[in-house]
Symmetry: C2
Subunit: 314 residues, 2 copies
């Protein structure tokens, strides 16, 4: 597979820079003491649309040809990618068509509409999502931008660790959550280019551990019946991302839902920032495996902050 | 009254700098659009102990003479000042005695103990707090550090707008909440020194509006029976602070509890940061008086982020 080169990733960063935040890196003495290592948090919860997904979506949209642009973009998603794609399209002045299940939370539909996306509802199952998307693409000629298993999206997510390692180059370990694997794949690739000594380690929920099982099996084992509070990590690993993970990820560590909630609470209380459950998974996995990180400099990508405040798990 | 000079405030900043965070200034396109002006938020919710109070307490402790230091410091408080003083004392290697009402929340007692303070419990009324404090001071010889009506504390709080105006010098308006008035007094003083064109405007809860009434009456009207979710702003205005407010504050604007909760929610949802209700009051007051701020550059001091996550008002 023809993965993006470091100069491709740098070019992507220059391409999307006007449309994204350079997010800050935060630290917490209190959490360092609890963890027994030195932590650096890259705050993508402060990113546009509240998640790193703004990067991949912006990169994919800005790489469209003029004739592709005219017809807009489409995807099926009920999560952060939907909002990110709608926003990127609006910023570029082109239409976006977002296929969402009819039972998607009102708050997520509102976000997509707020960013200027056109929502097409479908029955809440994968088959309906895919056939509805096909029909939308056939009708509009829009370009399908998949949420994670797509090189331009991975290249965009790879700009997040690029900024992170520019700001904090001396990390021993770099952690990200893994769902579809777009962020983790991009992170592994950038870290490999900039400093192959850095161990890239993923955090994954016990209740959606397809990446863990695939990583150890050596082939993709699809996710079936995931059960976890980390609702951004329910999807199966993408093939592009699996190849990157096999090549450049050192390990995948698991965390239970109570551990994820505890880590989330720790970040809220000690850092005074809002993160979504999926975002707490790497810290939870670290705290469940402290000895492995003892005394190290560990970077953690806080992936997003979109959470229903009325339904916090504490 | 002999208020701190600008060079006193700068000296205070140099004195406490090793013990506090230089907190970031954040912005939010989404909230700007809602407010109709350009907002800059100085994030003291990220300060040590989670509130600007770390500044005044550190300044007061670091200014003690060697013989005063030996005997430690004391105060009565159940809020952020208690934690801030305990921490400042521990950092300086001296004891701190914190008089707290017996019905203070367990979480606040835990914070004070966690920072190394010795808690002395008393009956939950002002008379008992004062007599217990007197007894503690008589027994230990500790120096009483009041929470706000005290020049060294005001001088410490004045370092917050000093940093803010260094980072963002072109503000038209600067806002802070007002309870006892330590932060507001310090803010008014620093703004006056650095740029007297800046309008300093306070936000105060309708349910604890003694500063508003005192400001318009021209003399201090003590707070009686305050009723507001902004539990950091229940106290009466201090005399030092009232003098500063009379001299250098342009106006005090009120906000109702529903407006405060709405502003708090806006900051959580759009900025992904955690603030306490008291901290949301200036933004709430601004949103209740939008026309006054239209098109201006407005700095808002986010005063603190210590909130019981299990009891959020949404």
């Amino acid at each position: 597979m023809n993965f993006p080169s470091l100069s491709d990733i740098r070019a992507a960063h220059a391409r999307i820079q006007p449309f994204i935040h350079r997010t800050p890196v935060m630290t917490s003495t209190a959490i360092d003491q609890i963890a027994g290592c030195q932590l650096f948090f890259k705050c993508e919860n402060f990113q546009k649309v509240g998640a790193f997904k703004a990067r991949g979506a912006a990169n994919a949209v800005m790489k469209l040809t003029p004739s592709e642009r005219e017809k807009g973009v489409a995807t099926h998603s009920s999560g952060n990618h939907a909002a990110a794609l709608a926003r990127a399209a609006t910023v570029a002045g082109i239409p976006s068509y977002i296929v969402m299940p009819s039972n998607a939370p009102e708050i997520k539909k509102k976000a997509v509409k707020g960013y200027g996306g056109e929502i097409i509802e479908c029955e809440p199952n994968l088959q309906a999502r895919e056939s509805t998307l096909e029909a939308v693409v056939a009708r509009t000629g829009a370009t399908f931008i998949p949420p994670y298993d797509f090189l331009d999206v991975v290249e965009g997510q790879a700009t997040c660790p690029l900024e992170f390692l520019e700001d904090q180059s001396d990390l021993d370990i770099l952690m990200a959550p893994v769902g579809g694997g777009g962020l983790l794949g991009g992170t592994a690739l950038t870290a490999h280019y900039l400093n192959p000594q850095i161990e890239v380690i993923a955090g994954e929920p016990v209740g959606a551990d397809d990446a863990y099982r695939s990583f150890h099996a050596g082939y993709i084992i699809p996710q079936t019946g995931p059960m976890t509070i980390a609702d951004g990590l329910l999807t199966s690993l993408g093939t592009i991302n699996f190849a990157l993970i096999q090549a450049h990820v050192r390990d995948i560590l698991l965390a239970t839902d109570p551990q994820i909630i505890e880590a989330m609470r720790l970040v809220y209380e000690r850092m005074k920032i809002i993160i979504e459950p999926s975002c707490a998974v790497p810290l939870a996995a670290l705290l469940a495996n402290k000895e492995r990180f003892a005394g190290k400099k560990v970077g953690i990508i806080l992936s997003g902050g979109n959470v229903d405040l009325g339904k916090l798990p504490f």
